[in-house]
């Protein structure tokens, strides 16, 4: 939709958007362009600029088994956290949406984890799951193999998944509850008059009506799990033990800033960018069909 009435001074209009355009150019387009440039070039060892190497960096990245490992782990992480956080978020949203007495208090509480800083949540869960102190220490004392996230990769992975899902379920809850409350009451009342019970209404009316939100949340969960996991991984496990929790963004950080392999890190960034763009493209297509400006 366009405005009929506008201001006529072009120069003033440009002044309004100029700061944003400059910022976006400097901190978005230039870095993205630089990543592409680095991905296709290699710095000469004795200085003198970069040498064009075509797809060599990508070939190297894809030939690296550690990279495929981190893709696999990121997918496992994405699938597990999406399932857990969307499942719990939806369950709690359906419960709150019934509007029973006092549900407002519960609603407030269910939003909290989202406001907890991710690294703080990570530190909290690292303490709770620590094999040397607290409840897990008591269990470990009886059977040392029972729990050891510092040595066992599966335990470490489970730990970061639980921590992330705890926080992210609150986010899913907010969206699912908003979607459920947007369903017109008249639809639900009509079906109640037709004799549909509460559970029947949930499965045959409410859930089908929020499928768009459901798919939207699915895409958002996956893309967010790629980007928001860094703080949790870094605080809880450092990507270890033996790289068992090294997710994609963590690997980019590690190769780029610890390994100083800018070209490799840039090639990995480009691959991640492509994945994100494909996912976001689906999401935007779907949103464009739904949002009406009027």
């Amino acid at each position: 939709m366009e405005k009929r009435a506008t201001f006529s001074k072009t120069s003033i209009g440009v002044m309004f958007i100029l700061p944003q355009v400059l910022l976006v150019f400097t901190f978005f387009y230039w870095p993205t362009g630089a990543a592409m440039y680095w991905a296709f070039t290699l710095e000469r060892p004795w200085g003198g600029g970069n040498e064009w190497v075509g797809f060599d960096n990508f070939r190297q990245v894809f030939a690296d088994r550690a990279y495929w490992g981190s893709i696999f782990r990121s997918l496992v992480f994405a699938a597990a956290t999406a399932t857990l956080s969307m499942g719990f978020g939806l369950l709690l949203a359906v419960a709150c949406d019934r509007g029973l007495k006092g549900y407002q208090a519960f609603r407030t509480v269910f939003v909290w984890p989202y406001a907890v800083v991710a690294p703080a949540a990570a530190l909290a869960f690292r303490f709770i799951f620590a094999p040397e102190a607290g409840i897990f220490a008591a269990l470990v004392k009886q059977n040392p193999a029972f729990w050891n996230p510092a040595q066992n990769g599966y335990h470490a992975m489970a730990m970061i998944i639980i921590c992330y899902s705890w926080k992210y379920a609150a986010y899913c809850f907010i969206f699912f509850l908003a979607a459920l409350q947007a369903i017109p009451r008249s639809v639900i009342e009509a079906s109640a008059l037709d004799g549909a019970g509460m559970l029947r209404r949930v499965f045959d009316i409410q859930l089908p009506l929020i499928t768009p939100t459901f798919f939207f949340m699915l895409v958002i969960s996956i893309t967010d799990s790629f980007q928001d996991s860094f703080g949790i991984v870094d605080v809880m496990t450092d990507g270890g033990p033996a790289k068992a929790t090294e997710l994609l963004v963590y690997k980019i950080y590690f190769d780029g800033f610890r390994g100083l392999d800018y070209s490799g890190a840039a090639a990995q960034s480009i691959v991640l960018m492509l994945i994100m763009m494909v996912l976001t493209f689906f999401q935007f297509r779907y949103i464009e069909r739904r949002v009406h400006y009027s």
Binding site: W38, L100, A124, M198
Partner: protein
């Protein structure tokens, strides 16, 4: 609500109470942990009731983590990002909606695309830009041959440099360079009736006046929502401040980044048991500001989340 369903109500309450329990248990364990001594906390058993050393641990965490300065840094950064975002998005959306100029749609798409790639994905080159924010412009001058031209005529070697590392500007600017709020405002401006502008213009209001005296008061709720969301977003940042503040002794860093140092990992001290009681006290301190903000601004917070993601 509509019918009597005592059994289902019971089930619903059970689900909600269990959910609340899952939210509270970790937070409670953190609080309990922050009240014990090192000796007590390392006993392998579940501590359910708090001890009496809360204030000592808070003091220890405050001193060890330099939390005074770190929290101040976090606060400036979060306020800067939130304010910058609110102002910048209002201006940009205003320019895009209320003006016609060539390339307007191009700019629109240029800003729209920034939604696709979060900072984490392009972290390495963004760091290089922050190390010298004028690098893009220097390169443009070099490539177009302007550097040579200027040197030939004026004898001045153009070498632009502006290091943003270890500065509030460097912490804030890259986080503002996205489209999040712009679309929220655009959507809102598009719902404002055309007659309002016509009436304002008839009364002699120029663009700036129209923005400040008409649109801004109308979008107060949007501003509050965006401000809350952006404050949380900035406060919670981890990877960017971790990289953008290498000078820990001088400028310091944000409270969230400092948190990790309270409970060192294999990479920072080679392992060993952290002082969990102090770490948990620090954890509580850093958690608190966003929790308070959400408690007071819950309405705006929920509204902002839902509006900015769509």
């Amino acid at each position: 609500m509509i019918e009597r369903t005592p059994l289902l109500n019971l089930a619903t309450y059970t689900v909600m109470i269990l959910g609340a329990f899952m939210v509270f248990v970790p937070l409670w364990l953190v609080f309990v942990g922050s009240t014990l001594t090192v000796r007590e906390i390392n006993i392998p058993e579940l501590h359910v009731w708090p001890g009496s050393h809360f204030f000592e641990n808070v003091q220890a965490a405050w001193a060890r983590g330099h939390l005074g300065g770190r929290l101040f840094n976090s606060l400036i950064m979060a306020l800067g990002v939130a304010t910058g975002k609110v102002v910048m998005s209002a201006l940009t959306a205003f320019g895009l909606v209320y003006f016609r100029f060539p390339g307007r749609m191009l700019v629109f798409w240029m800003i729209f695309i920034t939604l696709m790639l979060p900072l984490e994905v392009r972290i390495v080159p963004t760091y290089a830009v922050a190390a010298n924010a004028l690098w893009p412009f220097q390169s443009i001058l070099d490539v177009t041959g302007l550097t040579d031209l200027i040197q030939r005529f004026s004898g001045i070697q153009v070498a632009l440099e502006w290091n943003l590392l270890n500065s509030y500007t460097g912490l804030i600017l890259p986080l503002i360079a996205t489209a999040t709020g712009t679309f929220l405002y655009r959507q809102f401006y598009l719902t404002v009736p055309d007659e309002l502008l016509e009436a304002a213009r008839m009364d002699g209001a120029g663009p700036f006046r129209f923005l400040v005296e008409f649109l801004m008061p109308l979008s107060r709720a949007n501003m509050a929502a965006l401000f809350t969301i952006m404050f949380l977003y900035a406060w919670n940042q981890y990877l960017w401040p971790l990289l953008a503040t290498p000078d820990r002794a001088g400028f310091g860093t944000t409270a969230v980044v400092e948190l990790k140092l309270l409970a060192p990992t294999v990479s920072t001290n080679g392992g060993g048991t952290p002082d969990w009681n102090v770490a948990m006290a620090g954890c509580l301190i850093v958690m608190l500001p966003p929790l308070l903000l959400v408690a007071f601004m819950q309405r705006y917070f929920v509204r902002g989340l839902i509006a900015t993601e769509k």
